[in-house]
Symmetry: C2
């Protein structure tokens, strides 16, 4: 098998990171609120520490939890990653255009 | 600045890979059809070569091109990555449940 490409490594990482945090308690295929907070404070500490409003993570969780089951499945988790990537990409374009 | 986390590296990779292929011709912030085909045949060759139907990439492009401008912006590109990640994640869960 050839060496994975950057895109393949990225897809593997997204799955690995999701499972690392969703596997901590209860339902292994969903992020509970606690697991989501642990993920945000560990994997995205730079983003999280920059937020002035303490309620931002609660609001993010509610907005991401499309089916309101109090947890994030993999699709809802990807929407989080996508949203952050778009924010970074847009700020990158503004800086260099 | 602390070492990037796996999630931060993944977000950087998604932006870097998109810009690597979208920057080849015309509009730098969109993937043209040609750039999309180059991306699929390079970054996701393992997936692409496995497809029996030659029209699959055309259909994927049409489905991903939500605003039908004949190109993929970063959001539409992320939907592609997300779709593939979900397919991999689901097949992973089936194997180990």
């Amino acid at each position: 098998m050839s060496k994975p490409t950057e895109t393949e490594r990225c897809i593997e990482s997204l799955i690995a990171v999701f499972q690392k945090y969703s596997g901590k308690d209860g339902n292994k295929s969903k992020l509970s609120k606690t697991e989501f907070l642990t993920f945000m404070n560990t994997e995205l500490a730079a983003f999280t520490k920059n937020q002035k409003d303490p309620g931002v993570l609660d609001r993010m969780m509610k907005k991401l939890d499309l089916n309101s089951d109090g947890q994030l499945d993999f699709q809802e988790f990807l929407n989080l990653i996508g949203g952050l990537a778009i924010a970074c990409h847009d700020s990158f374009l503004q800086k260099f255009n």
